[in-house]
Structures are given as C-alpha cells and as structure tokens.
C-alpha cells in the first residue's frame, strides 16, 4: 500500500524525499567540501552581480537615465571639478551598508519594470513625472539624514574659514538647527523639477 503510494508522488515530492533522506553513499567530508565551494560560488556570484549593477555605466545603460539626469549631472561639480574627485550615481543613490543596499536593489526591480513598460521613455514623460521622483529622493535623504552625502562630506571636517561667507553662515545655522544637507542642497546634481514651487519645505524658487 505504502509502496504504491510512493509511486504516485509527483516528481517534486520525490525530489523532496531525496533531499530529506540522509546521505548513504557520500562522506560527510565530501558533502561539507562541496557545500563550501557551492557556497562561495553563489555568494561570489551574488556579490558580483551586485557590483555589476552598482556603477555609472550600468545606471546610464537605460536611456531614461542617460538622456535626462546624466546629461544634467555632467554639468555639475560632482562630475567635473578642480580636484578631479567624482561622485557617481551609486555614490549618491545606493547605500554603502549591505542591508540598506539590498533593500535599494529590490526597490530597483520596480524601476526595471517601468523601464520595460516605457513609462518614462520620452523627455516629456520624464519631465511630467520628475517632481514625484525627486520628492521620493528628498524624502529618503531626509529620513537617512543625507547618509549618502555624508559618506564623503561632513560638517565635522569642513573648514568653515575656507568656505564662502554665506556657506559658513548657513552651515553654522544647519548644525545649530539639526538640519540635513538635502534641506538646502536640492538640485545638486540634476535640474529642479517643474512644479517645485509651493512644495512643502522647499524655499520658494519662483512663484
């Protein structure tokens, strides 16, 4: 009775059974070694693909990015400057710490989905959606206290004497009032969106 029952099991069921059965033919050592190397392979491959998708070339392989934000970013101080130190897209948009990075990558699958849908495939569509997109970034940066900016910049090591007077004054005020970079430095790498006027917490840049 039980034997015939076993025969009726699906392929998946049999596979599961095989997985659960203690190994008879293989030494524990072999199992450990094989497991170890497979582990390296998977973990390495995983991290490799994380790195592959964590550079500027990957970011701008979508024309939505290359034709819009990338062109604007090329005009700014984080692309070209006196010292030749650059901040690339992932420096500002992908967290450094592992757990936050994974979370951001999972979120990015939604961006891929919209890429294939063509949600933003023209400049007009991009501009129309831009305020929403920018607001998302502002919100996250506000929540993380501009964590990505602070990977490179920090008030602690700023020599205020070297800064312009107005920067100096603003930064002293920022420290006193516990403000964060994105409170004041919106549009640091891209054009500000239309409709920014009247957005909460944004100084009135127009009317």
């Amino acid at each position: 009775m039980s034997a015939s029952n076993d025969d009726n099991k699906s392929t998946l069921g049999r596979f599961w059974g095989w997985l659960r059965r203690p190994s008879a033919g293989l030494a524990v050592g072999t199992l450990l070694v094989v497991g170890f190397f497979t582990g390296i392979l998977f973990w390495g491959g995983f991290n490799w693909s994380m790195e592959m998708t964590n550079n500027e070339a990957f970011c701008i392989s979508c024309h939505e990015m290359e034709d819009n934000v990338y062109q604007e970013y090329r005009e700014t101080v984080h692309y070209s400057n006196r010292t030749g130190v650059r901040a690339t897209c992932p420096d500002c948009h992908v967290p450094k710490s592992w757990i936050h990075k994974i979370a951001r990558k999972i979120q990015a699958s939604n961006e891929l989905y919209h890429h294939f849908l063509g949600t933003l495939d023209t400049r007009e569509k991009y501009e129309a959606k831009r305020l929403t997109l920018a607001k998302n970034v502002w919100k996250v940066m506000k929540e993380t206290d501009s964590r990505e900016c602070r990977n490179c910049h920090s008030f602690e090591y700023m020599d205020f004497v070297e800064q312009e007077k107005r920067s100096q004054g603003s930064h002293e005020e920022a420290i006193d009032d516990n403000m964060t970079c994105i409170d004041c430095h919106k549009g640091i790498a891209h054009e500000l969106p239309a409709g920014i006027i009247g957005v909460d917490g944004v100084p009135n840049m127009g009317n």
Binding site: V77, R166, G187, L192, A194, I196, P203, M205
Partner: protein, 150 residues
Amino acid sequence: MKTWMKATAVAIAVAVITVMSVDGAIAQDGVQSLRGGTALDEGLRAADIARPNTGKRFTRNYRQQPPLIPHRIDKYQIDLKANQCMGCHDWPQNVDANAPKISETHYVSPTGVRLNKVSGSRWFCNQCHVPQSLAKALVPNTFTSSNDMR
C-alpha cells in the same frame, strides 16, 4: 592688341597693386581681427577667466547700476521650472537667508501693476546682474563714477 584690351589690363594691374598695398598698410596700422595677429592655422591661447571675487560687495558706480553678485553662481538654475536665486533673495525668504531682498521695482509688472511675486520681465537675473570680479577693463576708458562728478 587692341587699345581697350591694353587699357583694361593696366587698370586691373593697378587695382590689384593698390588693393595689396592698402591691405599691407592696414596690417601695419595694427587693425586686427579678434584673433589678434595669430595665423588661422595656429592655436590661440584661451583668455584668462576672470574669477568671481567673493570678498566684500563692490560699491556701485552709478545710481542705476544693477548691483554685482558677491558670490559664485555656477550652475544656478534659472529657467521655466525654477529660479534658484529666488530661494534666498525673494521676500520673505531673504530674512532667514540673510540675503538682500530683490528691489521692490522687481515686483512691478511692465504695465505698472504691483504683484505679489517677481515680475516675469525680471525673471532672468543674470541678464543684468553678474558676479563681481577684479578684472581689468577690456578697453582703456575714462569712465568716472557719477558720484565723483558732483
């Protein structure tokens, strides 16, 4: 050879010589193109960039002069979408930003209507205002400030 042909040939020769010598005279007088004396196939060194001076605000040379900007304005966005200058210089934000408010005249429309926002005709700040710089005068001149004339 017919006389008229001779006459024409002489006339052309005279014309060519005259043009050539006048040309030479102009070159000697120092009339130059924007490229100076540099030949067309030679590279020309780029002019020095006048760096903005971010120290004290320069005084105005005459009453109606648009005040100069005492800081850098690189990459400041002034377009249909936004005007970053207004972030600090529009009332009432200028109070917090500790920045001079744009002139009250900038809140008046071209037809004289008082507005509660900067007039569209004043939108593009850098049509009149430029960063100050300790640059040398491009051409020698005898400009005297109207205040010094009184």
